[in-house]
Symmetry: C2
Subunit: 484 residues, 2 copies
Amino acid sequence: MPRDVSALELALNERPRHMTRTRWLYQELLLAILERRLPPGSRLPSTRDLANEYDISRGTIVTAFEQLQAEGYLISRVGSGTRVNERLPDPVRTQRLQKRAKKLPGSLSDGGDPRSARPFRAYEPAVSEFPIRTWARVAGRRLRSASTRLLAGGDPRGYPPLREAIAAYLGLSRGVRCSPDQVVIVTGTQQGLDLVARVTIKSGDAVWMEDPGYFGATRAFRNAAARIIPVPTDDAGLSIVTARRLCNRAKAVYLTPAHQFPLGMTMTLERRLAILAWAREVGAFVIEDDYDSEFRFEGLPVPAMQGLDRGGSVIYLGSFNKVMFPSLRVGYLVLPPELVESFLSFRLSVDLHASGVDQAVLCDFIVEGHFGRHIRRMRQLYSHRLGTLLDAGRKYFNGLLDLLPIRAGLCTAGLLKNGMTSRTAEAAASAHDIETMALSRFALKRSDVHGLLLGFASFDESEIRRGVVKLAGALEREAPKSHA
Amino acid sequence: MPRDVSALELALNERPRHMTRTRWLYQELLLAILERRLPPGSRLPSTRDLANEYDISRGTIVTAFEQLQAEGYLISRVGSGTRVNERLPDPVRTQRLQKRAKKLPGSLSDGGDPRSARPFRAYEPAVSEFPIRTWARVAGRRLRSASTRLLAGGDPRGYPPLREAIAAYLGLSRGVRCSPDQVVIVTGTQQGLDLVARVTIKSGDAVWMEDPGYFGATRAFRNAAARIIPVPTDDAGLSIVTARRLCNRAKAVYLTPAHQFPLGMTMTLERRLAILAWAREVGAFVIEDDYDSEFRFEGLPVPAMQGLDRGGSVIYLGSFNKVMFPSLRVGYLVLPPELVESFLSFRLSVDLHASGVDQAVLCDFIVEGHFGRHIRRMRQLYSHRLGTLLDAGRKYFNGLLDLLPIRAGLCTAGLLKNGMTSRTAEAAASAHDIETMALSRFALKRSDVHGLLLGFASFDESEIRRGVVKLAGALEREAPKSHA
């Protein structure tokens, strides 16, 4: 067993000004652990020893210990005191953190590998639950018998049987009314938005955007030189009254009516009809991003606006990248019939068409029923995970963060109740190895949105619970008025 | 054996004004065959009978017969006269042609299914020669063991091991000097061009384009609101002297230096160095589209301009879609280091990243040596096919079409010597079920380019030879001054 280390031997660096004692101690201890000055299995100096040596309160020390314990660096056992965990996180990550901790002693705010998901990364589906062996079997069979025509590809709309399968699926599950000829395969929602913006918008055209809303859409329309009109959302969705007052003659409106991104509410039928009527009146396009409608965990799914449209105004977007796995890169648009030809002609100058083989494999996967089974399994899993998040939130987030009661999707928003701004809370969470997104990142003009977006889909129950504890700790300890 | 049909019974429709007698007779006979008024195996009316009945010369009749024979509708055997082939082309295609022949009696000019390749479709690789079973095996193995990280994807540059493999391959085979961090995976050349244009060009920026040149590039730069400066090419490539006179302060130049598209010449070293020096002087980008450099059948391959560049001016583009199969959708850019960050940031708003799984499969395919083997096999095959085309051309195109002597790529240009314009020749070929592209389609300002682009890669020897005979017939019979 490694010998114990005294507080003096630890030789903690001096506390920079402006850094709270808790945070300083937490980082210094973390560094000592990562640099093996506190080797795995060793017992930490006693709180009394540390308090004397560094002139800090024992409360501060306990808080830092708890934080390191929540993160898995320390283990506390009755009768054995507090020890460094013998099984530290994997060495690559440790090394990286070590470097970072050395380079940036005042901040771990952008810590962590951008690709290893930590709670509560938004967007990320439960990739580890994807039936990859089934997919491999379907793909292998399809590839072995691939016709030269499939390999040659070339339909700018996409693989015809896949478009048929999508039209049928959307008709049944989303009330979308379309022929397969209106369906165009793209690499995902973002490419769909980029193409739609470039085909429908001329420089200076006004586009209504939900505020807060999806920044990927804002960027796509900005790239097309649109004039963005931020329109505040309320409980019923985008406020059309405000929108018409701000700029009635917009060329398009971007909407997430099923599950507003990022706030989660569903647009009311009344609001939907009013927007469709407006679009028809002024000749605008309604761009309906139905990004996670597959995952609604209670209540009836609300059919898509596309199915209510009688004016050929709605451009509908969906994607398989979240439902299946993100690196698949297959999404789709449903276009009004009048738009198809000019869209396809433009698309030829952009990227010709999507991958033919992947489309054929996906089509087989759908037609053979694997897709439906996978969605049903994931719906159950995600519902359960969201339940865990909401339960743990009720227990630990009291007075810190109010999770919205929406039961859908892969992520949910929480409104801050501790006086923090979104960005401060995001940074505090990040410093404690919790990944969230400040809701203010989605705001265009609004400054009244203080909250965090929390993804729950790709984390198991214990990760979610531990994450909630850590996040609650971060929000509590780092709140403006709290320092040791 | 079916009974013989008399000229009278055939009941040919009247000849529309402005249609040559040869063409009219050809189409009427084709229709009669397709509608089974001339059943398979039946003997045609004698030329004398037809000449008397319809008041046409026997030369006209012989020409029409020969054309139908070259296309496989008629068979002529010694002692048996001319009969309808008992094995007509497949029924679907026949039905389609039949409809078309009825609907458009004056024109078969856009005949044929856009997806069933006929000689001499350009661009099309020999998809039927692709080792799809090997690919299926590699893909199956990779998919079965796919990590959640691979499925989650997310590197906007692309799959790192593939970028390493590409950097190594380009270094060895093309003299490209780059680190894997400069390589960005895209869906193909067209997406690469679209992204490059949008990142490097501001509205109104001047871009030099080869004239004639690749229209996909012109479209990409036009979409980015560039001012296109057409620059004539000569035997050494784009004429930089003319270009500097037209507009010295261009923001970029688009080039196909290895094998100019569509004329095929290689840009001289002197010209390359002059263009690189200019680019450095005025701060312009050199966009080097190395679209088919894998297939050079004689002489040493000329290294890429990227490897000569000391100013960080060259953006290099390549693609696997032609080398492997078109529906793969994997291409790449090699960016100057300074451009990488802004490019990736922009790319996030366009389509995030390319398909991760396909990239991993391709990487395995390369690393295990299948890619190299496939290229070597195709190089031999294409070289042979081009040889067949050139041989047959020498025999049949005399005075009609001069095939350029370039031995590279998937297609080659021929210059018209029969007084036809490019478009007339393309239409004449199409009317005889031969697919070519008028070189004038690639011209921006020039009106002195009279020729056809002929693809040879995806057709076997007998298809190529039959195609040459048919095309020669079309160019001969449809030439301005020749009618019966």
